[in-house]
């Protein structure tokens, strides 16, 4: 059993409007960041888990995301094991 760091990244699905991201983009433009085309806001969950293998740790991360961390009606998620 190893302790691993699992990162679960949650973001809105394509096509789901994100008023917060739009407001941030507008504000950045007001600050003269003219080159900014868009901003995406994501949530990052960093979990320390005990697992035998990396794929088991990823499986745990996916289950956590499906059951709680993401609302899969409107959000996608990505699970990775961070290099230790």
């Amino acid at each position: 059993m190893k302790t691993m760091t699992v990162e679960i990244r949650v973001r809105f699905k394509d096509g789901i409007l994100d008023p917060q991201a739009e407001a941030i983009t507008t504000s950045l433009k007001r600050l003269d960041f003219k080159g900014v085309e868009s901003i995406r806001v994501e949530k990052l969950f960093v979990a320390k888990v005990n697992a035998e293998t990396e794929s088991q740790a990823i499986g745990m991360g996916r289950e956590m995301a499906n059951k709680l961390l993401a609302n899969v009606v409107m959000e996608n998620f990505e699970v990775t094991v961070a290099a230790s």
């Binding site: 008023p19 917060q20 961390l69």
Partner: protein, 221 residues
């Protein structure tokens, strides 16, 4: 026999008192609180109200933690058996998180918390809360929310009916929808962002919400 009603309370509920009072002051309803850690027993309550507030501090997403409570996990069975659920504001968010109602609630299009009186148009009957005769009526009811922008990828009108629409949309919701309703086994589930329980007191000159409770008594007693 009185109609039995329960108001589920979570840590952070703050419209529980208003809901209990609005129900209790309706002749023919006997209402009590129901703590979220307790399962909802079958065939005990005819009405279950999930009140507004900030259950579990709105942590993660509004309603996301509350959906895991014993009360919410046992609710579908009680509804299958015949209970009628009304989720108001945070209660609507919880019903959506628990997938008893479709769609999702996004932050208001203006990004701000909106607290004001709105006019709601009744679009369809919703047993036991609204009758066919109520269709077309306008109710003056307050809204108070930041995550009330209801969106739905596709709405199956055979299953879910938009019950209330805003006359003037305060949050950017899809097709001005303010509340939705579906049958569920022998019971039903209705969710709405506006607060009928805060508009149930003639002394406040704000009593249009009473229509829901009075209809429920007429239908169920």
């Amino acid at each position: 026999m009185s109609v039995k009603a329960a108001v589920i309370r979570f840590p952070g509920s703050n419209c529980d008192h208003d809901a209990l009072r609005a129900l209790s002051e309706t002749q023919g309803i006997e209402a009590c609180y129901h703590w979220h850690e307790e399962k909802i027993p079958k065939n005990t309550y005819q009405l279950v109200v999930i009140p507004g507030g900030f259950s579990f501090g709105d942590y993660l997403r509004a309603g996301a933690i509350a959906k895991l409570s014993n009360a919410m996990l046992s609710l579908p069975d009680a509804v299958e058996a015949g209970a009628h659920v009304l989720g108001i504001c945070n209660g609507f968010q919880i019903l959506i998180e628990s997938r008893m109602l479709p769609g999702y609630l996004q932050v208001n299009s203006g990004l701000k918390f909106v607290s004001k009186l709105v006019d709601l148009r009744v679009e369809s009957a919703a047993y036991p809360w609204l009758r066919d005769e109520d269709r077309g009526a306008t109710l003056k009811v307050p809204v108070a929310h930041r995550f009330g922008n209801f969106q739905v990828p596709k709405i199956d009108l055979a299953e879910v009916s938009p019950v209330f629409r805003y006359e003037v949309n305060p949050n950017g919701s899809f097709q001005d929808i303010a509340g939705i309703y579906r049958k569920f086994g022998n019971g039903s589930v209705m969710g709405m962002m506006p607060h009928p329980e805060r508009a149930s007191f003639p002394a406040l000159r704000l009593a249009d919400g009473q229509r829901l409770w009075q209809n429920a008594v007429r239908a169920l007693r």
